[in-house]
């Protein structure tokens, strides 16, 4: 007992990247290419950046090839705007849709193994919500590498960063941002193997910690997707944006919620209820099984609620069927090989012969740390935080608004990763080396870790984790109401208090999994509170956020939610206007970029 926590040593670099996933390392590669010799440190919780969660993305990356005979960037912009339920920022939509193809070519030239057409060109498949001619027919727009597109991307940006001598530090967590005179000057990290804290001073810092939906019982996210990046920002007094928008992917494998990619439906798979009826025809007559995810997830829950679902004894869970039996053998073996093997291994069904049990799984959070279109982090409604950037799933620029289309996330990672890299190079021109550590460096994290290390009481980590995951699923899940959200806010307050009474299994610091998991649990509770509060305040339904008591979208809420929570449950709300620049430019088809109805 009574351990004094200190910073063991301090190192310096030009750029610190917190989160060496797809977005973080695309930024690293950009900086390496554009400004050789820049010293870059990239952090990850896992053993190697290659193991970051981007590697599990399956289906594809959306991009319109300017030479495509039928597809056009404007269709992609429209789909993204409509898909977002009119809440994405149009300056960002325009910018990222325009450079998507360049980035696909960048990845290919740097060694990614995209699937090919007979002519040897990059192959493309349809995906939910991506259409030609402003919503008429399905577009072939998702560039893919079989059903391991994310792995192809991750391998490429990881290898490219390696080429540029990026210094990877694995098995660590960034635990506190360092700030001086309103500038971000680096972070304090905790390395698992040594059990020690280190400070890293940097001219520029990029937060790219990725996804954050482990607070839900059923989730497609990895063990480490615990909202650390958001907690870092909140603890520093920075706002977060639109966290209430959580995407449930309609087809998680029953049980742990492992993803069964939309690519399956892109290849022709069909959802069926217990009578084997292809029920999506009733909910979305045009787009059917390739309607946007929020719509399908709600349809599945509706089917289950009305008694047309099924029940899986083994996993104790309700589900519907995904039917892949009619797809050609060639498709099973070449295009969706990994996902089919997941069904065989984890669920014990053979998709070539059996119906596959699926249920909605928490998958993606549209909101995040608010940035402008250059990846610079927004400090308050007006200014940016010099030296601090964010990109990837942890950030919101916002390409997705309150709902994201499939394959638009990989697009965002790579395009915003590059743009952020470019922004950092620009920033480095006049940036000075930080003088030294701020006098109070470490106060936030030492406080937190001391509490965990000295905690006494009878609370159990597992109990609190499971209570959290159940309550978020039930009360802050696919369907929400004022009643369920108010309950959730109360429950979360109680959980936060209980979490301070979990005695650690051991206080020995090296590879103390128990210790960092308690820290992660606290981050999850923090982020959950912001989700619940945001959902409570947004008295409408829009995109992935659905209120049973306010089932319609309302113009009153045509803005992004900003929430500050420097102390747990001391929340302040603010608003950020939605960028309407495509509409306001009054160019061709501008009227489609108004607050239009969203039907599929």
């Amino acid at each position: 007992m009574g351990k004094t926590l200190t910073v063991d040593s301090t190192s310096r670099c030009d750029v610190l990247i917190i989160g060496a996933g797809g977005a973080g390392l695309r930024a690293a590669a950009q900086i390496g290419e554009q400004r050789p010799g820049t010293s870059i440190i990239a952090l990850t919780k896992v053993f190697s950046p290659q193991k970051s969660h981007t590697t599990t993305a399956q289906g594809g990356m959306a991009a319109v090839d300017p030479k495509d005979p039928v597809d056009r960037a404007i269709f992609h912009m429209f789909d993204t705007w409509k898909g977002s339920d009119c809440s994405a920022d149009q300056n960002v939509i325009k910018k990222l849709c325009a450079i998507g193809w360049e980035e696909v070519v960048w990845l290919e030239r740097h060694g990614m193994h995209f699937s090919r057409t007979e002519e040897g060109r990059i192959a493309k498949r349809p995906f939910g919500g991506h259409m030609l001619d402003f919503g008429e027919t399905l577009a072939f727009r998702a560039c893919y590498e079989a059903d391991r597109t994310g792995k192809g991307i991750m391998d490429t940006v990881w290898a490219e960063s390696l080429k540029y001598g990026v210094n990877f530090i694995g098995q660590c967590i960034a635990t506190e941002l360092l700030c001086k005179d309103g500038h971000c000057i680096g972070a304090i990290i905790f390395r698992y193997p040594e059990g020690k804290f280190f400070a890293i001073l940097a001219k520029a810092t990029i937060i790219a910690t990725g996804g954050k939906t482990r607070m839900y019982l059923v989730s497609s996210n990895c063990r480490g997707n615990t909202g650390d990046g958001l907690a870092l920002a909140l603890n520093t007094g920075l706002p977060v944006m639109d966290l209430e928008a959580v995407q449930f992917h309609p087809t998680g494998m029953v049980g742990p919620g492992i993803l069964a990619s939309e690519a399956l439906r892109g290849e022709g798979a069909i959802l069926r209820n217990k009578d084997e009826e292809p029920f999506m025809e009733r909910y979305a007559p045009t787009a059917k099984d390739l309607a946007p995810r929020d719509l399908i997830s709600r349809a599945i829950i509706q089917e289950i609620r009305e008694g047309r679902g099924l029940f899986h004894e083994g996993h104790n869970a309700h589900h519907v069927w995904l039917d892949l039996r009619h797809l050609p053998k060639e498709v099973h073996e070449k295009k969706i090989q990994e996902v089919c093997s997941f069904f065989k291994r984890f669920v014990g069904v053979d998709p070539e012969k059996d119906l596959c049990p699926v249920t909605p799984t928490a998958h993606y959070q549209m909101g995040g740390i608010p940035t402008n279109e250059f990846g610079e982090v927004q400090g308050d409604t007006h200014g940016i935080v010099p030296g601090l950037f964010a990109c990837g799933e942890v950030a919101a620029a916002s390409l997705h608004g309150l709902n994201r289309l499939g394959t638009n996330s990989l697009l965002e990672l790579i395009t915003m990763g590059r743009v952020t890299g470019e922004g950092v190079v620009e920033y480095l021109k006049d940036a000075k080396d930080p003088d030294g550590l701020p006098p109070d460096a470490g106060h936030i994290i030492f406080d937190q870790f001391s509490t965990y290390l000295h905690a006494q009481g009878k609370e159990k980590y597992a109990e609190i984790r499971d209570t959290l995951r159940n309550l978020m699923m039930e009360k802050v899940g696919i369907f929400r109401s004022e009643k369920s959200l108010l309950e959730a806010v109360d429950d979360l307050g109680e959980l936060k208090e209980r979490a301070t009474h979990i005695p650690p299994g051991t206080t020995c610091m090296r590879t103390n999994q128990d210790l960092w998991q308690i820290w992660e649990l606290n981050n999850l509770i923090t982020v959950s509170m912001v989700i619940a509060q945001g959902a409570l305040a947004r008295k409408e339904s829009r995109g992935a956020h659905f209120r049973e008591d306010y089932p319609k979208r309302s113009d009153e809420f045509n803005y992004h939610t900003l929430v500050y929570m420097p102390k747990f449950n001391t929340v302040t709300f603010d608003k950020r206007p939605i960028d309407m620049s495509i509409f306001e430019a009054k160019g061709d088809h501008y009227e489609l970029f108004d607050y239009i109805q969203r039907e599929y």
Partner: protein
């Protein structure tokens, strides 16, 4: 389907603070459809929060969770209890850390160090071929791609390297050698000489004795030794 099993896990423990090693035996009541990572989590939850074990994606796609179960290196996240009982024909399982890097604690080994080997294979394109005349992507026919695309599925879990006797003695190891082979077979790579130097260096492909343990254990069903054989024969 949901039959429950009473299984015994004998787990190699190591405490980095005291540098003591021992074997801890846990009895667990587990549903057949739980994965071994779920069982390990259950031990943390119900019996012993100090037991450390690695994982990340928990669906066989990141290669973080390699451990040795009854002598076989495998991914703890894709081994279901019922399959383990059937495959090993027992209810008692000996769990050990991979032998490819130093143990940090219990079942966690320092894969970060093991990755130093992979880095030596330079997994990027060292010298990319000039762009296509249209200025966009290279043209690669599906047939060409098919020759090496299996090898690109490797997740660097190091199960093969653990199983390979040679890789413990001055051999870069199966996965690293295969990573180099991928780029030798990739029509976009122009640095062939440098690639061949990596392939045939002192700790290169000739250290492999074609015992095929690698192909046998690979959780992604990649025929690793096939790619190594192509390397030895110079077929790329």
């Amino acid at each position: 389907m949901s039959i429950s099993h009473t299984i015994t896990l004998e787990i190699n423990r190591y405490d980095p603070d005291t540098e003591l090693s021992w074997i801890h035996t846990y009895q667990v009541e587990a549903s057949g459809i739980l994965r071994f990572v779920d069982v390990l989590r259950k031990i943390n939850d119900e019996q012993d929060p100090t037991l450390a074990w690695p994982s990340s994606c928990e669906h066989a796609q990141c290669g973080s969770c390699g451990i040795i179960v009854n002598g076989k290196p495998l991914l703890a996240c894709e081994l279901l209890v019922k399959d383990a009982v059937e495959q090993f024909n027992t209810h008692t399982f000996k769990l050990k850390p991979l032998t490819i890097a130093p143990v940090l604690r219990d079942l966690v080994v320092d894969l970060e160090k093991a990755y130093d080997r992979v880095h030596k294979a330079k997994p990027y394109l060292i010298k990319p071929a000039p762009p296509h005349r249209d200025g966009d992507e290279y043209r690669i026919s599906p047939k060409t791609l098919e020759i090496y695309s299996e090898a690109t599925r490797c997740i660097n879990c190091f199960c093969c390297a653990t199983a390979c006797i040679s890789s413990h003695h001055h051999f870069l190891g199966p996965n690293t050698t295969m990573a180099n082979m991928v780029r030798l077979m990739d029509p976009r790579e122009r640095a062939r000489k440098e690639r061949m130097d990596i392939l045939y260096r002192e700790d290169g492909v000739y250290r492999c004795h074609t015992a095929r343990a690698c192909s046998f254990v690979c959780p992604k069903d990649i025929d690793v030794s096939h790619f190594l054989a192509l390397g030895k024969e110079g077929k790329f």
